[in-house]
Symmetry: C2
Subunit: 186 residues, 2 copies
């Protein structure tokens, strides 16, 4: 939990993102969430009329914004596409170490549980595609061949790399990803 | 749910694997599980003294055996390493279509929830490494350079590819994976 004095709505969102990332959407109870966020039940339904599911959408968007910011920062002063990718992988490895080497992808944790929830699925799809689109934009800017396939591949490597890093509890898996990116991609 | 008349222990394991894959370990209640498996509570604790957590370990092992079998079959008549990988990716794409394009990795769904559970973590690590070791063995047999890195990369691509396939609800992501494997790998 953050210690900064945040508005209740932000506190709810950030707490939800952290708890879902640790235990999955179904693994977090409403009372646990409210206690952690130090928010009364009424404030939850004030800000998020549908309660937990509304909050999950907002938490996933917030976590996704963090990833978009990470991509933007990594490519800000990049000399070329590979340089940007290497910075991004290092930053994600650091994030992994900070997360206690356990948490899963926040979008996946929040929005990929509950097979019947079309709204969750569509939201996850849009957030993921927004990451991929941003990387594709940088690939285009640097004149990389096949920018869409390149961005897809990077997404795949980061998701799968995070999973193997979790299993091995070793962020070097993420740091080493650029070495295994296809040559035709970089 | 399978319709074959299986022994209770197997019914419990397969039902658990299916339900966890759909809703995550925390998202499945014991009563739902017993009802789906048509098993009395006593039989659960007879076969799995620690109940749900014991069952989760067995379900993950069972699902993992399925993946090992898929790798073995894919490489059985492979002409070369790339041929085996292409067969494997096609088989996994078919599995994805059969799964209703929704389920997550069974190991991940079962064993990556609950940050305090060292036993789950260790079990997931061992199962994943057994997949990687088997692929590494085939890479060695076919004289591929860097067999360990190759096997790691394939694991990463399959995990991440499955995730993107879920988001897009499109198994072609998995079918196309071999096109994006590094040239130095194949």
């Amino acid at each position: 939990m953050t210690k900064r004095p945040l508005p209740t709505r932000d506190r709810l969102i950030q707490t939800a993102a952290e708890l879902f990332q640790r235990s999955g959407y179904n693994g977090v109870g409403l009372s646990e969430l409210l206690a952690e966020a130090q928010a009364p039940k009424g404030s939850l339904y004030h800000h998020f009329p549908k309660g937990k599911s509304d909050l999950a959408l907002a938490a996933a968007s917030w976590a996704s914004d963090g990833m978009l910011e990470l991509i933007a920062v990594s490519f800000k002063d990049a000399r070329d596409f590979r340089d940007g990718i290497e910075t991004l992988c290092h930053k994600i490895a650091k994030l992994f170490d900070k997360s206690g080497r356990w948490e899963t992808c926040p979008i996946s944790a929040t929005l990929f549980e509950g097979p019947e929830n079309q709204l969750f699925r569509d939201h996850a799809y849009r957030l993921y595609e927004s990451w991929i689109a941003q990387v594709r934009g940088h690939a285009e800017r640097f004149g990389v061949d096949h920018p869409q396939e390149t961005a897809d591949t990077l997404f795949i490597m980061l998701q799968g790399g995070w999973q193997l890093a979790r299993a091995r509890r070793n962020s070097d898996v993420l740091r080493n990803l650029p070495r295994f990116l296809p040559a035709n991609v970089l």
